[in-house]
Every structure is written in structure tokens, then in C-alpha cells.
């Protein structure tokens, strides 16, 4: 039993009084939500440039990062409700649990403007390409779509689960299958693959640090696999269903990432992909080859629906985790803990919305902000890696300190998985300090200072301030204990 499921005869604080019964999700829906939050065809043209090596670039991170993340989070979620905050709280300490969920929450704030900026440019591609360089247009699209997402999220898990699942099916699975089928038709017609498919092209070109940056940064392709564990209490039998859900999601994510990228690389040469200056032009080049270019606007609408579906899962997950630990430990003011009639963390969503809107408007309207926006994506992925470091450390400790705690699923060789996951996360954290293409010829130390400074402020100073200034009266829910009715 989680903190959500306190018996009716236990007096409840006011903030929780309106909380309805948990929504039931099927494990397949949760798998689709997880897949929607991680995978999309948006990355396919980018990776198609690498040809056959894209398999390597996705498989190696899958072995050293996706597998540990998926299996470890499956064990943790099958034993402890609530997601990373609960796992880290139980395994390490409550303040570190807050740090984990804060980092998961904070990193999403900078994700929405770039995601919705992409959606705005895709809509512009459909309506009028000139709009893509218009700041006011982009700002309006970001704000309208983001707040619509907040409204949908505030309607409850059921509403967003449906939209996220349909977004994945319509926007990723169907068009992804079409890409793969067309690619196979292309090869079946006797055409040679545009990208060489022999064994000498299995590995990416090795050019030292640049190749290392590419390979290690790809670990982050799978970040977010654990995020929907926060909805585990919505499953009928979480202990059995969550691991099944993770395995299905893992398979889908791998297929969605690898096969469409390969299919594009068969048909469109790498250098022609790059003359397109955008994801949609890459799809246009692919479909035009088959004389079905009219499918491009359909693919654009599909990508839009997939992106928005993915956004909904990110809106709902981390903020829910933040709410749970804040209610129990009083880490956030009561105003932010208020729930709406659907039991959703409305005020957190709205506050997050205000911050995101300010950032998004800056992104769309202030040239200097948009020009350096990519650096925020580095900082936020650095912050997110803290979540994984804490998660793997907590999993190892929980096996040692609570070996008999009922778990619906026990990950094989958990220690090895955690060590591999920790090392992969540390490697990704270190490689985040290597300047990327966009930094040009600037000083390496300036880059390290900017990324390091951002990491310290966003990942440590702000959560420390919340911990420092919290008040006992901010606790609005009883804290859970290890023995408190977990599902087995």
C-alpha cells in the first residue's frame, strides 16, 4: 500500500481529502506510456546518417544503460510504490529521495520549449514554412500546446494515458512500420542500400573524442524508462504487471529507434539527408523516392501527435513524484501540494507551467536565449544523470538492507546491473563536460564552468534551499515506512 492508499478510518489531512480512488491502468497501457515518453521517429533521420553503425549506437547503450535501468526499476517498482523518490528515500535517505525526484522534475522544464519548438516548426512545415522563423508564432504555439497539456494532465491519469497511447500508435508505431515496410520493398526490388550494410560498417567511424561523445551521449537516448514507475499504483497487480510492462516497453523502444533509422539509411544517402535541414525534409526525401510524397504531411501530423503524447507523460510523471514526497516530508509549501477534484497535483503543474512559459517565451522571442538553448539541454541531461546515480545506489543498498522485503520481481545479478548502470551514468556525466559542436572554438574551461555551474545550481542549490527552508507544518500526509503494507 502506498501513501495514496491510506485506509478510510485514518484521519486524513485536508489537502488529501479530495483524492479519488486510484485509476486503473493496464500493463500494456503503461508500457505504451513508457515507450511514448522515450521513443519517437523524430530521431530516425539523425541516426540514419550513421547507416549500419546506428545499430551499434543504439545497442551498446541498450546493454549498458537501458537494460540496467529497466530491470532495476522493475525490481524497485515491484517492491515499493511511488517511483524514484520512494526508492531513493527507502534505500538512501529522504533528502536524497527529494533530490532524485527534484532532478527528474527540474530537467523536464527545459525539455518542453525545444520539444514544442520542434512541434511548432512541424506545424509551420504543414501550413506555411515562413512561420518557422517567426518568434511570436512559435511562442504562441508553445504556450497554447503546453497549457493544453497541463489542462489534459489535470484531468487525471486516464485522460493522458489514452492520449499518450494513441499518440504512440498513430504517431510512431504505424508510420514506423510503414517506413520499415517501404525500406524492405526498396531492397526487395533489387536496389542497393544507400548506406553500406557490410560488416566493416557495423562500427561507427573512430575519430577519438568525437566518437566517444557520440557513443556515450547515446546512453541518454533511453533516459526516462523509469519515469512512469510513479504510476505503478494504478496497475491492478503492480508486482507482476510492472516488470511485464517494462519488458514490452524495452522491446518497443529498441525497435522504434533502430528499424526506422535503418530503413531511411537504405533509401536516402547520408549526405542527402543532411541537405534537408530538418526532420520533415528527411521524411519528404524518403517518401518522394517512392512517388508518395503526399505522405509527408501525414507523417508530419503523426510526428506532432507522438510528440504531444510524449509530452503528456512527462507532464504527469515527475510532478506526481514530487508531490508524493513533498506531502509526506513537507518539502514544498502547502499551496503546491493542493490537489484538484481528479486527485492531480494541479498547483505544481500550474507553477511549473508559469516557469516553463517564461522560459519558452524567452526561447521563442529573445535571440540570445534561442541561440544558446542547446546548452540548457546539456545541463538538464547532466542533472537527470543524478537520478540514475541515486537509483542504482539505492537499489544495491535495498538488496542489502531489506533482502526479505517482498518484491514481485527480482532482477538477476542486481549488483552487476547496478555497477554497470552506475558506470554508464558516470561516463555520460563526465562526457557531458566535453564541448559539443555548437560550442565552436570557445574555451573548454568556460564550457565546463557553464555546465558545471548549471548542474550545481539546478541539481543541488535549489533542492537544498527547499530542504533548508521547509517547515514542519508543510507535512500534509503521513510518511510511509518500509513495513507499511507494500504489495508483494
Amino acid at each position: 500500500m502506498s501513501s495514496i492508499d491510506t485506509p478510510a478510518d485514518v484521519p486524513r489531512p485536508r489537502a488529501a481529502a479530495t483524492r479519488p480512488a486510484p485509476t486503473t491502468l493496464t500493463w500494456v497501457t503503461l508500457a505504451l506510456m513508457t515507450t511514448a515518453s522515450v521513443a519517437s521517429l523524430r530521431a530516425a533521420p539523425t541516426m540514419a546518417v550513421y547507416g549500419l553503425a546506428c545499430v551499434f549506437l543504439y545497442l551498446v547503450p541498450a546493454i549498458v544503460f537501458l537494460l540496467p535501468t529497466a530491470l532495476v526499476s522493475a525490481e524497485l517498482a515491484s517492491g515499493w510504490n511511488g517511483g524514484v523518490y520512494r526508492w531513493v528515500s527507502e534505500g538512501l535517505s529522504k533528502p536524497l529521495g527529494f533530490l532524485a525526484v527534484w532532478c527528474q522534475f527540474a530537467m523536464t522544464i527545459f525539455y518542453y520549449p525545444s520539444l514544442l519548438g520542434f512541434v511548432a516548426s512541424t506545424i509551420a512545415y504543414i501550413i506555411d514554412p515562413a512561420l518557422a522563423s517567426s518568434g511570436p508564432y512559435t511562442a504562441i504555439v508553445i504556450v497554447v500546446l503546453y497549457w493544453t497539456g497541463v489542462w489534459v494532465s489535470s484531468r487525471g491519469t486516464k485522460a493522458l494515458a489514452g492520449l499518450a497511447s494513441w499518440g504512440l500508435i498513430i504517431g510512431t508505431l504505424i508510420p514506423g512500420t510503414l517506413l520499415v515496410v517501404l525500406g524492405m520493398v526498396f531492397l526487395g526490388q533489387g536496389n542497393p542500400s544507400a548506406a553500406p550494410m557490410d560488416s566493416s560498417h557495423l562500427l561507427p567511424q573512430w575519430t577519438g573524442l568525437a566518437s566517444l561523445v557520440l557513443i556515450v551521449n547515446n546512453f541518454l537516448s533511453y533516459s526516462g524508462m523509469e519515469m512512469n514507475a510513479v504510476h505503478v499504483s494504478s496497475l491492478k497487480d503492480p508486482a507482476k504487471e510492472y516488470p511485464k510492462s517494462m519488458f514490452l516497453a524495452m522491446g518497443l523502444v529498441l525497435l522504434i529507434f533502430i528499424l526506422p533509422a535503418l530503413a531511411i539509411s537504405w533509401v536516402v544517402p547520408a549526405d542527402q539527408l543532411s541537405l534537408t535541414a530538418g526532420v520533415m525534409q528527411a521524411f519528404d526525401a524518403f517518401f518522394s523516392y517512392f512517388g508518395i510524397g503526399w505522405l509527408t504531411p501525414i507523417a508530419a501530423v503523426a510526428l506532432i501527435s507522438a510528440s504531444l503524447g510524449g509530452m503528456l507523460t512527462w507532464l504527469a510523471g515527475p510532478s506526481k513524484g514530487l508531490l508524493e514526497i513533498s506531502r509526506q516530508e513537507g518539502y514544498l509549501p502547502p499551496f503546491l501540494q493542493k490537489l484538484n477534484k481528479f486527485g492531480i497535483q494541479q498547483n505544481i503543474l500550474v507553477t511549473q507551467g508559469v516557469v516553463t512559459t517564461v522560459i519558452a517565451l524567452g526561447y521563442a522571442l529573445i535571440p540570445n536565449v534561442s541561440s544558446v538553448y542547446w546548452i540548457f539541454s546539456v545541463i538538464t541531461t547532466q542533472v537527470y544523470l543524478i537520478v540514475y546515480l541515486l537509483m542504482f545506489a539505492a537499489a544495491m543498498r535495498l538488496r542489502r538492507t531489506q533482502p526479505d522485503h517482498p518484491r514481485g520481481y527480482r532482477a538477476p545479478a542486481l549488483g552487476v546491473l547496478c555497477v554497470v548502470g552506475l558506470l554508464a551514468s558516470l561516463a555520460a556525466l563526465c562526457i557531458g563536460f566535453v564541448p559539443s559542436s555548437q560550442f565552436g572554438s570557445g574555451s573548454v574551461w568556460s564550457y565546463v564552468a557553464i555546465v558545471g555551474g548549471g548542474l550545481v545550481i539546478l541539481g543541488f542549490v535549489i533542492p537544498w534551499a527547499f530542504l533548508k527552508f521547509r517547515k514542519p507544518s508543510w507535512k500534509t500526509a503521513p510518511a510511509t515506512t518500509p513495513s507499511e503494507g507494500e504489495q508483494a
Binding site: 491519469t157 549526405d271 525534409q281 535571440p367 534561442s370 559539443s436
Partner: protein, 145 residues
């Protein structure tokens, strides 16, 4: 009831999403059919083909080039040096993530250079602004050809 089905309490959410997406779809299909090819699109496509071959790139299909770039370069030439377009373009020089794990990498040199040639052919007046951001881009040979 499965939440993936049309729950009656959320029907307006679902219907709203469907109406907007279908509207976009119809708009996109109408706009697509309005794109015309003529002698000028063919001339430009041939010119680009020559320039690319001269620079050592594979010869692209002219049909595709006509459709993609038309006479004026289409979206590629829509203010490519603007902050927003540059931001989107730079964010795309990234790893294989589609979610919040998107992170910039060190881009392949040849893959980026092609865009410069496209701009030279289709919209040379936009080249200067774009050159600044392109010249400042650190690249390496990360694609095995």
C-alpha cells in the same frame, strides 16, 4: 474499461485532439498538392546536383530535389540565420534520443557542409548569416563512408 478507449468523461479531450489533427492533415495535403514543378525547379535541381558532385557528394535524385526545394529552397531558405531556426537546427545536431535525453554531440563535417551548398544555389543572399553559425561549428568525421 481500458483507458486507451474513449472514456466518456474525456470525450471532449479526445474529440478536440482528433479535430485539430484532421484539420492539420487536410491543410497539409492541400498545401502539398499546390507545390508545382516547372523548368525553373529542374534547372535549380540540376545546378545543385552539379555543385554537390563537384564537392564530392553522391548525385541526388533531381525529382526529390525539385519536390524538396522548389525554386526558392523552401523551408531550408526561410531565414536560416534567424535565432529560432538556428536554435532548432543546432538542437538537431544531437544524439539519438527523442525524449529529454537529447544532448548535442560533435557533428559530422561532411553532413553539415551540404547545407552550405544548398544555400549557395537556392538562396545565396541568406548565406552570410548562416555561414557565421556554420563556421563556428566544431565538427569531425564521425560517419563511416
Amino acid at each position: 474499461m481500458s483507458p486507451t478507449r474513449f472514456a466518456s468523461e474525456h470525450k471532449w479531450v479526445y474529440w478536440g485532439a482528433i479535430v485539430i489533427l484532421v484539420g492539420l492533415l487536410i491543410t497539409g495535403l492541400i498545401r502539398y498538392s499546390s507545390v508545382k514543378r516547372n523548368n525553373e525547379t529542374l534547372t535549380k535541381a540540376n545546378q545543385l546536383q552539379e555543385e554537390l558532385e563537384k564537392a564530392g557528394y553522391p548525385s541526388p535524385d533531381t525529382d526529390t530535389l525539385e519536390r524538396l526545394l522548389g525554386t526558392d529552397g523552401g523551408q531550408v531558405c526561410e531565414d536560416p540565420g534567424s535565432a529560432l531556426k538556428t536554435a532548432l537546427w543546432k538542437i538537431q545536431q544531437a544524439n539519438g534520443a527523442a525524449g529529454p535525453g537529447m544532448r548535442p554531440v560533435i557533428t559530422d563535417t561532411k553532413a553539415v557542409e551540404v547545407e552550405r551548398i544548398v544555400l549557395q544555389v537556392y538562396c545565396p543572399d541568406e548565406l552570410d548569416d548562416f555561414e557565421d553559425s556554420l563556421d563556428d561549428l566544431k565538427t569531425d568525421d564521425t560517419v563511416r563512408r
